[in-house]
Structures are given as structure tokens and as C-alpha cells.
């Protein structure tokens, strides 16, 4: 079993790597374009690598430490303008990220980061080389011996942490860590810190009872270390400094240089309180305020110094000389009251901070002013909640439309049931929104992809992202991530031309790739468009014919139909297979995944001008508003969104084409008629058009009229899939359970319209 710390290390590091990549590319680009690097971005990347390194070192993943350390060194050179962030370096650092990703996978499966030494070694070599290049360029900076660095990296893990701590502190002092911190980041920071401090506190309290328990020290250390890392990352330097000192104390205890005496633990607990107070302040007004900062610092230094005296093997902290009185005052303040710690915790605050005068009540929860804005919920719990809501919708319909109520009028019942209906709807909306996440996550991944692929293909491409904050269902997001990769690959590999070719035909040398997410009607659209070659109709037809996908190179096929051919498995117009695309697998995957979420793909292509693919995904997967209709004995649900109107047809408005397709004139439009009973072999009440009702449905600017016998009513339908064993049924997209417990099939209006329209066209 992998322990929790490793797991959280893996997931945190993954997030960080994901975060680093876009910045790396941004940095590389700005460096190439203007020759300058944004120090803030560099610092940000530096810190992210640094955090990974720190935790990895602590957990003993030395390969990760080595790799990230070298990357850090290189970045350090970039930061100091000693190295340029050119293509080579950007690329190298990106590959470093990949490697770390691989190592993380390795850790996840085997709990150790060994097994990829060869890869790691080669990356490290490259990094070292680049570092040497960077240093060689500017001789007047005093370059630390490369051997030295090498030695550093293979020291024991405690040393790594120690060294890391030092450099962290250095980093704070040397660089102004002002960066843009969004309110969300801040909120996340305060929430995480709250958790971490809680972890530290509980570990410390347990430690007091059981001073020999190494695991508890480690636990406290880990919590504090993450906290410190977060403080550094968010730029709260005072907190970082203090937590670093606190960490040093713990470090001493950990390495056995000091005893976990209850006095020491009390001091540590006080520090936790100070941190908590500061975090509360941050969550309230966003600023870092620590009262008596110098006093606290001195106090910590004093404790550290006392260890140092006890043990000649020096810790890195210098002894800080300070007035005796002050020191005693601090100690007095801290020792003033003794355990129980819960009550005692507040003494530091009450005596040193005049702002808070009231004594803390023993109930700790109230004293903390951090209000959590989120909780983490297991996805399976969420899914079963959503399922239950689905059942609730059905159950509600079963009650309010109970067959027993037929023929009665209950005024009060009606009122209550409409109230119930409203609440159920609200619950449903709320529950579904819980699963929604912004597309930014998958969009941002494309930045790296575009960078890598365009470099590889020797093309210049500018990627634009629009509507990143559009929210989509988590499942949908997982399912469109892969298709998106394929589509972007295709655009780069096949669509966008090399720069020479582009300039030759009068286009900008830099190709444009646009990713956009937006709401459109009842759907979410993910648009991928480029200004490249577009699809070549002739070539597609020719290839399709060669592969036997079509009978002859039929001229009659519409553009849309021709373009759909590219989704056939094994289809590829690429003349040669590259490692990027050309095997004809990708588009098949795209289609499969999109179909899984009941989506459609629209293709718009203008030869020579570009290709635009629109992934159209229904907003909710689970519940739709539907109209219940009856044909003979069968009951169908038609999605309300696709219904335009329902009409009764007059006989003189009906015309029949040569091959028997009926058309109904509605205002100035001729609409084909779908006779469901023919398609599904049902005996209807009436086969005469003018005796039944015609429901006009619309999809993608096309429409058709579905002949039904009767409209039963409107109902929310919880969509349930039909079993695979039933197979794909024409005109049916799923089924739902009605109020009386019967099952009603949901009509696939898009499919029906397509069928009807194709018969008109034929």
C-alpha cells in the first residue's frame, strides 16, 4: 500500500507539473521574441520545481530530486540572465517535466522512483550540459563547481531537505516574491494551510504523550514542510521564514539532536497558533500580518541555538544575540500558563496581541476564523447522489402523476405537488452543477502539445484559447480530452502548412489554432479551428475508394458526408505515417468518445482557408425535459428542446415526392414526414396524416414532422441508456421511466430528421 503522503505527493506534483508547462512555454516564447524573460514567471516555475524537489527529497525519491534539482539550477541561470531560455532549454525543461511525470507514475505503481535511471541520467546530462553552457557564456560570475552540485544531489535525504531549506530561505531573501495571486489561489492556500496546521497540531499533541514516536515527528514535519512550501509559493515571506525556523526545530528533534520535551512541544504549538492566526488574517483581508515578528523570530532562534549548544554538530542557523530581557520576556509569555494545551494555546495571543482580548473558549473550532469554502467529496459519492436525484425525479412523477389520481381534482394536492416539483427541480439543477468543472484544465494541456508538435513539425503556430471558464461535466471533460489531443494534432500535422508554403500563398507565416468553448442552445460547443489547408474533398474520396469505404467515388455525396468519412476506422489521407498522426486511428477515437456522451461533430472546411471542427455536446447527460407522445400502444419521449411546434395538418398541404416521401407545407417550408409506426412496426390509431398530430422537430437547421396519435404531456425524463445487447436502434437514443413505472423510449430527433431529409434529397 502506498501511504497517504506519497499519494498526496504524487497528485500535488502532477498538478504542479501541469501548471509548470504552460509557463515554460510562455517563458520560452517571450525569450525568443524579445530576448527577455519575465522574472515573475521564472520565479514561479522555479518555485514549482522547488516544491516538487522538496517533498520528493523528504520522501526519499532521489531520482526525482536529482532531476528537479538540475532543472532548478538551469532555471536559476535563466533567472540571473546567465542562460537564454531558447528553444533548446524550453524543450529540455518540458522533457524534464515529462520525465518527472513518468517518475510519478513509477512511484504510483511501484512505490519507488527507480527503473527509469537511464532516462533520468540522460536528461540530467543534458541539463548539466546546458548549465555549463550557461555558465561558460558569462565568465565573470563565480560559478560553483559542477562537481559540487553533483555531490549535493547524492547526499542523504535529510541533507537534501536541509540544503533545500537553506536555498528556500535564500530564495526568499534574494528575490522579491511579488506575484499575482488570484483570490482563488489565496483561498485554496488558506484552506490547505488550515488542514496542514491541524495535522501538525494533532501530531504535536500526540507527540507530547509519546515523545519517542518517530512517525509523529515525521507527520508534524511533513505538515509543516508543506505549509512552508505553500507560504513560499504564495509569497508570504514572513510566514515562510517563521515556519522554516519551526521546521528547523522539528528537524533537530527528528534527527535526534534534540529531545521532544514537553516544553519544546509547547513552543511549537504556540507557533502553530501564530501561523493559524496569520492565516486567518490572510483569509480575512489578504495581507500577511504577524505581530511581534522579531520577538517570535528571536524566540525560535533561541531554541535552535539551545540545541546547537547541546550538540556541537552544527545546524545551519546562526546564534542570534539579543537582549536578555527580551528573551526572557518571550519565554515568560510562552510559559506563563501550562497545559492543558487547548486552553493554553491562546496565551500568546492574549498577552502579546492587544487586539484580541477575550479569552478563548475551550471549544477550539469557534476560535478559528477560517471559513472553509469547499470540501473534498469522493466522486463515487457524488455519482450516487446524482443517481439518487434521478430516482427522485422519477419518484416525484410517480406520485404526482399516479394513475390512481386519474379523474380527480384535488386543489390542495395540486398545490403541494407543484411545490414539490419545484424543489425537486432545484435540487436537480444544484446537484448537476456540482459536477461541473471549467474546461481550462484540458485546454491548458494543449499549450504544451502545440509547442511540442509545432517544434517537431517545423511549423509556427499561435494557439488561442477562448472561453476557458466554460464549465462542463467532469465525465465529459475526461472524454473530450483525448479527442481534443487528436484534433489538435491533426490540425498541426495535416492542416497548418509549413511557414514557406504559407508565405508563398500569401498567408501569415504563423499559423493560427483556436480552441474555444461556449454554450450554444442546449449544448456546449468545443470549437477547434485552424487557418490551414482545410480538408481535401478529392483526396478523401480517393482514399476512401482505395480503402473500400465507398463503392465508387460518388460525386453525389454532400461535403458533410464526405468529411464524415475521415472518422472511419483506418482512414488517413496522410501519404506517410509520422509518429504524430497518419495511422488513421485518431479520428475514430474522436468519434467514439464524442458519441459516448451523445455529442456530434460538425465539420466546416474551406479548402485553402482552414478547418473548423465543432464538438457539440449536450449540456446535461442525465435529465432532459421531454414531451410524452403516443403512437398506437407505444409511448415515446421527444426532447422538448428539439420541438418547434405541433400542428394538425390539412389535407391540401400534403404533397408526395416521386419516390413516395410525403412533404407537408408549413408556412413557406416543405417538411418531410416521419411515420414512426412504419419504422417501428406499430399499429397506430390512424395512418392518415390529417387525422393525427404532426410534431415538428428541428435539429441543426433541418426539420421533420413526426406523425403521432396523441400528446400525453410534458415530463422530465431521466435518460437511461439501452443495453448494448439491444443494439443501436434507428431513431431511439435511450429510454426513461415514466410516472406510472412504464418505460418510454426517447426519440433521437437528430437521427430521424437526417433520415427523412436524406430521403427527400435522394
Amino acid at each position: 500500500m502506498i501511504d497517504e503522503n506519497t499519494l498526496s505527493f504524487i497528485s500535488e506534483s502532477r498538478e504542479m507539473i501541469d501548471e509548470v508547462e504552460p509557463y515554460l512555454i510562455e517563458l520560452g516564447q517571450s525569450s525568443i521574441e524579445s530576448g527577455e524573460v519575465n522574472p515573475e514567471t521564472t520565479n514561479l516555475i522555479f518555485r514549482l520545481f522547488h516544491s516538487v524537489k522538496g517533498t520528493a527529497g523528504f520522501l526519499g525519491f532521489n531520482v526525482v530530486v536529482k532531476v528537479t534539482h538540475e532543472a532548478e539550477t538551469l532555471l536559476d541561470l535563466v533567472r540571473n540572465d546567465q542562460a537564454k531560455m531558447g528553444h533548446t532549454n524550453t524543450d529540455l525543461l518540458c522533457r524534464t517535466c515529462d520525465l518527472v511525470g513518468l517518475l510519478l507514475n513509477q512511484i504510483e505503481t511501484t512505490e519507488s522512483d527507480t527503473g527509469l535511471e537511464a532516462e533520468a541520467e540522460s536528461i540530467i546530462k543534458e541539463l548539466e550540459q546546458r548549465i555549463l553552457v550557461g555558465k561558460g557564456k558569462i565568465p565573470d560570475t563565480s560559478p560553483p563547481e559542477p562537481i559540487d552540485r553533483k555531490k549535493n544531489t547524492i547526499q542523504t535525504k535529510t541533507d537534501n531537505i536541509q540544503k533545500e531549506n537553506d536555498s528556500a530561505e535564500q530564495g526568499i531573501e534574494e528575490f522579491d516574491l511579488k506575484m499575482l495571486i488570484s483570490p482563488e489561489m489565496l483561498q485554496r492556500f488558506t484552506e490547505e494551510s488550515d488542514e496542514q496546521l491541524e495535522q501538525v497540531e494533532s501530531a504535536l499533541l500526540d507527540l507530547e504523550n509519546d515523545p519517542e514516536d518517530n512517525e509523529l515527528i515525521l507527520e508534524a514535519f511533513r505538515g509543516l514542510h508543506s505549509f512552508k512550501g505553500n507560504c513560499g509559493f504564495t509569497g508570504f515571506s514572513k510566514l515562510e521564514k517563521l515556519s522554516h525556523k519551526t521546521e528547523t526545530i522539528l528537524e533537530a528533534i527528528k534527527s535526534g539532536k534534540a529531545k521532544a520535551e514537553s516544553e519544546t512541544i509547547q513552543s511549537l504549538l504556540h507557533m502553530v497558533d501564530v501561523f493559524r492566526q496569520a492565516i486567518a488574517g490572510i483569509s480575512l483581508n489578504g495581507t500577511e500580518e504577524i505581530e511581534n515578528m522579531p520577538l517570535l523570530e528571536d524566540f525560535m532562534d533561541d531554541i535552535i541555538a539551545s540545541f546547537k549548544n547541546a550538540d556541537p554538530i552544527a545546524l545551519s542557523q546562526p546564534i542570534v544575540e539579543k537582549p536578555k530581557i527580551e528573551q526572557e520576556e518571550a519565554l515568560f509569555l510562552l510559559r506563563k500558563s501550562q497545559p492543558p494545551p487547548r486552553v493554553e494555546k491562546s496565551t500568546l495571543k492574549t498577552t502579546t496581541e492587544k487586539k484580541i482580548q477575550k479569552p478563548k473558549p475551550p471549544a477550539q473550532a469557534k476560535s478559528r476564523s477560517i471559513v472553509r469554502q469547499d470540501i473534498r467529496v469522493d466522486l463515487t459519492k457524488l455519482d450516487s447522489l446524482i443517481n439518487l436525484v434521478g430516482e427522485l425525479v422519477i419518484a416525484e412523477a410517480m406520485v404526482t402523476r399516479n394513475p390512481d389520481l386519474k379523474g380527480y381534482e384535488f386543489e390542495n394536492f395540486e398545490r403541494s405537488s407543484s411545490h414539490l416539483n419545484k424543489i425537486v427541480r432545484d435540487i436537480q439543477d444544484m446537484t448537476l452543477s456540482v459536477r461541473m468543472i471549467p474546461v481550462a484544465g484540458i485546454f491548458r494541456k494543449m499549450i504544451r502539445l502545440v509547442h511540442d508538435l509545432s517544434t517537431k513539425a517545423g511549423k509556427k503556430i499561435e494557439l488561442k484559447l477562448l472561453g476557458e471558464d466554460t464549465e462542463i461535466d467532469k465525465t465529459v471533460s475526461e472524454l473530450i480530452a483525448d479527442p481534443l489531443v487528436h484534433l489538435v494534432r491533426n490540425s498541426i500535422d495535416h492542416g497548418i502548412e509549413p511557414p514557406q508554403e504559407r508565405t508563398a500563398i500569401g498567408k501569415k507565416a504563423t499559423g493560427e489554432l483556436l480552441l474555444e468553448a461556449k454554450h450554444e442552445g442546449g449544448e456546449i460547443w468545443i470549437v477547434i479551428s485552424d487557418d490551414g489547408r482545410g480538408l481535401n474533398r478529392e483526396k478523401i474520396l480517393q482514399k476512401a475508394f482505395e480503402k473500400g469505404l465507398i463503392q465508387d467515388d460518388s460525386i453525389n455525396m454532400s461535403d458533410q458526408e464526405v468529411f464524415e468519412l475521415i472518422f472511419q476506422p483506418g482512414f488517413s489521407t496522410a501519404d506517410k505515417i509520422t509518429d504524430v498522426s497518419g495511422r488513421g486511428v485518431g479520428m475514430d477515437v474522436v468519434k467514439k468518445n464524442i458519441e459516448k456522451i451523445k455529442g456530434h461533430i460538425d465539420i466546416h472546411s474551406k479548402p485553402g482557408q482552414g478547418l473548423k471542427m465543432i464538438l457539440r455536446i449536450p449540456l446535461t447527460l442525465a435529465i432532459i425535459d421531454g414531451m410524452l407522445v403516443r403512437v398506437g400502444k407505444a409511448q415515446y419521449t421527444i426532447p422538448l428542446l428539439s420541438i418547434r411546434e405541433s400542428i394538425q395538418v390539412e389535407e391540401d398541404k400534403i404533397t408526395t415526392t416521386m419516390d413516395g416521401q410525403e412533404l407537408v407545407q408549413v408556412r413557406n417550408e416543405l417538411i418531410p414526414v416521419v411515420r414512426l409506426y412504419e419504422l417501428h412496426n406499430i399499429v397506430p390509431d390512424s395512418k392518415n396524416l390529417h387525422e393525427g398530430l404532426l410534431v415538428i422537430v428541428e435539429y441543426r437547421d433541418e426539420s421533420a414532422g413526426i406523425l403521432i396519435d396523441e400528446i400525453i404531456g410534458e415530463q422530465q425524463a431521466v435518460i437511461k441508456g439501452l443495453s448494448n445487447y439491444v443494439g443501436n436502434i434507428q431513431g431511439i437514443s435511450g429510454c426513461t421511466i415514466m410516472g406510472d413505472g412504464e418505460i418510454s423510449l426517447i426519440l433521437d430527433t437528430g437521427g430521424l430528421i437526417k433520415k427523412a431529409q436524406s430521403r427527400v434529397a435522394a
Partner: protein, 151 residues
């Protein structure tokens, strides 16, 4: 039937719920069975394969009901007072097997289950994981995955 189930199942002993399709006695590991009920009214699905009787609502879950007789290539199951619907817990969904008649639950030691012959009571051998002989009868142990495979 409930009374026949032995509590505290031992290792390597299968409990087989047995039933008749035509004249063939078949069994399914009882752990795969969600429940057995009388014929419930199912909703007919147009254009579905002929062995699909329809779908039914089992307490909010959609169950596809399959005529096991037709699926295995015999004559269709006759709906009467003996026929039953065995609800199977398959991968992600519930499938209902319509059978002619149900029989007892039998204990079968898994090492006594022999490979299936090519033909059991007119049924293709490949539908079975094996056969189990009792003193009086021969039970074909159905391979549910194989039965549900698309032909």
C-alpha cells in the same frame, strides 16, 4: 427455494441456480443472480434483435429481458405460470433471462465440473463453462459472457 441455500459457503463449492430451457437443465452461479421474478410486463423495443423481449423497469433500473431459448437457438420460451425471469448482474447492467421453468439450487464442487461436450440437450457446447453431473441429472453451467456475446 430459499431453504436450499446453505449458509457459509465453502471455498470451491459453487451454488448453482438451475432452470430448464426446453429439456436442457442449465445452471448459473447464484452469485451472478440478482433475483428471480415472475414475468413482469416489459416494454417492447422496436428493431431490437429478435431474442430481446423488451425492457422492464426494475425499481428504477432498466433491465433488458432476453428470451434465453431464442438466444441459445432453441424455440422461444412460452410465457406461462412456470416461466420465470432470472435477473443477472452483468458487468454494468442487469439482464433478464427468460427461462421455461426454474429448478433447485444445487451445490457443485468446482473441481467436479467437467468440460462441456459439444452438445447439451440440443444446445451448443460453447455456451457452457462446463457440466456438472448429479446422481440423476446433468447440469450445463452457463457461461454468461459467452451467452451474451453478439453473434
Amino acid at each position: 427455494m430459499q431453504g436450499n441455500i446453505v449458509e457459509g459457503e465453502k471455498k470451491k463449492v459453487l451454488e448453482l441456480a438451475t432452470f430448464f430451457i426446453g429439456d436442457a437443465l442449465c445452471g448459473i452461479d447464484i452469485l451472478n443472480i440478482q433475483e428471480i421474478n415472475r414475468n413482469m410486463e416489459s416494454t417492447w423495443v422496436p428493431q431490437a434483435p429478435d431474442y430481446v423481449i423488451g425492457v422492464l423497469n426494475l425499481r428504477g433500473r432498466i433491465v433488458t429481458v432476453v428470451d434465453l431459448g431464442k438466444k441459445l437457438g432453441l424455440s422461444p420460451i412460452q410465457k406461462n405460470k412456470d416461466s420465470r425471469n432470472i435477473i443477472i448482474d452483468s458487468k454494468d447492467e442487469h439482464i433478464g433471462f427468460m427461462v421455461d421453468r426454474i429448478s433447485d439450487v444445487m451445490l457443485a464442487e468446482s473441481d467436479k465440473i467437467e468440460p462441456a461436450p459439444a452438445n447439451i440437450g440440443g444446445l451448443q457446447g460453447s455456451f457452457f463453462k462446463g457440466v456438472f453431473k448429479t446422481e440423476t441429472s446433468l447440469i450445463g453451467v452457463l457461461d454468461i459472457e459467452e451467452v451474451l456475446k453478439d453473434k
